[in-house]
């Protein structure tokens, strides 16, 4: 093949043309870690200054007190059980929400009456404060089921609307190609719809996980769900154990970050697997 025959812009070679003064002094990962450590330290310092000014531990504990409390909680059986319970409930609601919303969005895309049917539901869920849903649901279902249902409710509109947007942006030109060449349903799904939906779906999965996690824990607090993070947050608040309240909150934040990372990796792996499995078939 003639080298001039190829579109070199699509295959960029490593850029060796950086001027001397443009070269970074540190490798990228080192710079990123350094930046994260500095940012984190600044916020801890602000927290410490706030604590020093307030001076009342049971209203506003110091970072040190929270870390000590977190280290005390970590090895405890109740911590392991409650974290596992909360994660299982939220992940269950999240997965049900994703499955239902993807199915609903595909059905709505191809059958307009369903889109009209789901429209008010999605609007109501988006507009209603999550606390209202939690307090209504607690009347209807056991407290263990409320976080699952609330996580489902948080996920559904986000994934549904994003998937619908992805479907509606499927290139018409490629739809025509599929129509002319008599593509099978599987080919249309894997070559037309999945590539169009994938970026919207991936973004919706990440966004909705954060929503589901926060709303699920809120549901646990309001429903006082046994063996849950929310239950211990509620107890800590009842007994003015503010350091404990902060420690549980830190645990929620760390778990949220870990869950988000796991979801990003899983969605990426899923996209690659689909592409490998169905490419050209």
């Amino acid at each position: 093949m003639r080298s001039a025959d190829r579109n070199t812009g699509a295959n960029p070679s490593p850029d060796n043309t950086l001027k001397k003064w443009e070269k970074p002094h540190l490798p990228k990962p080192v710079t990123a870690v350094f930046s994260a450590v500095v940012t984190f330290s600044v916020w801890i310092l602000i927290w410490q200054i706030a604590y020093a000014n307030i001076g009342i531990s049971f209203i506003f504990p110091s970072p040190y007190q929270v870390v000590v409390e977190l280290l005390r909680l970590l090895p405890q059986k109740k911590f392991i059980i409650s974290v596992t319970g909360s994660m299982l409930r939220v992940i269950l609601g999240y997965l049900i929400g994703i499955a239902a919303s993807v199915a609903a969005s595909f059905a709505s895309h191809f059958f307009l009456p369903l889109k009209i049917f789901f429209s008010p539901f999605v609007k109501i869920v988006r507009a209603t404060p999550v606390a209202s849903f939690i307090l209504i649901c607690v009347l209807w279902m056991p407290s263990e089921a409320v976080p699952v249902f609330i996580a489902f409710l948080m996920v559904f509109p986000v994934v549904y609307e994003n998937t619908l947007t992805g479907l509606s942006e499927t290139p018409v030109e490629l739809k025509e190609v599929a129509s002319v060449y008599g593509f099978s349903r599987r080919q249309k799904l894997t070559l037309l719809y999945i590539p169009s939906v994938a970026p919207y779906f991936a973004s919706a999965c990440t966004t909705s996980l954060g929503l589901a996690w926060k709303a699920g824990i809120s549901a646990e607090v309001l429903c006082v769900t046994r063996d849950s993070i929310g239950y211990y947050i509620y107890i800590s608040k009842q007994y003015f154990e503010t350091a404990s309240l902060f420690a549980w909150t830190v645990a929620i934040i760390v778990l949220s970050v870990l869950l988000e990372l796991a979801i990003k990796k899983s969605v990426g792996a899923l996209q690659r697997a689909v592409r490998r499995k169905y490419a050209g078939k």
Partner: protein, 202 residues
């Protein structure tokens, strides 16, 4: 009605408008089975609209099109319209009927000068404009259709590649009905029956 007449593609008083703009008005044409027809005319005269009607992608407002129903139709669009998530080989093999999809696709791509493994396994974004065009041509030929519709088939190809592509298209469409639309004079259509569409003044 004789068999060959029955298999001809016949456009009878076809009209098509887009909003206020009339693109085709009472256009009639008979394309005999197995014939090669080139429809020529200036840009904007309705050639592509006619091709899209023949492909069944749009329908005429008035008039009838017969002889295309139940027949396999391949379309080489004016734009290449390759699937960005598939390699050149996969783009072509995706339309090949039956078994040995990849072998058939690789054979046609090789004839069109894209047989190098690097080209076969390249994604459209990694191919030049001419390579993408040849890949799109390969896809239209690989479908083994009864009717082949070509829209500016050799657009963007250099003289050497255009000559080779014309030869390959001839060899793969010898027994097929071919309708090509173009506003250029290319080697592909030199023996085709010529139909000139005037610039519409509706």
């Amino acid at each position: 009605m004789p068999e060959s007449e029955n298999r001809s593609v016949i456009l009878d008083s076809v009209c098509k408008s887009f909003g206020e703009k009339i693109v085709l008005k009472n256009f009639s044409l008979k394309i005999p089975y197995g014939s090669k027809t080139v429809i020529k005319g200036p840009s904007g005269c309705g050639k592509t609209t006619l091709l899209r009607i023949l492909a069944g992608l749009i329908f005429p407002d008035h008039g009838t099109v017969t002889g295309t129903q139940g027949k396999k139709t391949a379309v080489l669009f004016q734009e290449d319209r390759l699937f960005p998530t598939l390699t050149a080989l996969e783009n072509v093999s995706a339309v090949v009927p039956g078994n040995s999809k990849k072998e058939v696709a690789a054979k046609i791509l090789t004839e069109l000068g894209l047989g190098d493994p690097e080209n076969l396994n390249s994604y459209p974004a990694q191919l030049s404009g001419g390579m993408k065009r040849r890949c799109a041509i390969a896809r239209a030929l690989a479908y083994d259709a009864d009717i082949v519709l070509l829209d500016e088939a050799l657009k963007g190809l250099d003289a050497e590649n255009a000559e080779n592509c014309a030869r390959v298209i001839h060899s793969y469409t010898a027994d097929k009905t071919v309708v090509s639309v173009t506003h250029l004079d290319t080697s592909l259509e030199k023996d085709y029956q010529k139909v000139v569409m005037p610039m519409n003044t509706f």
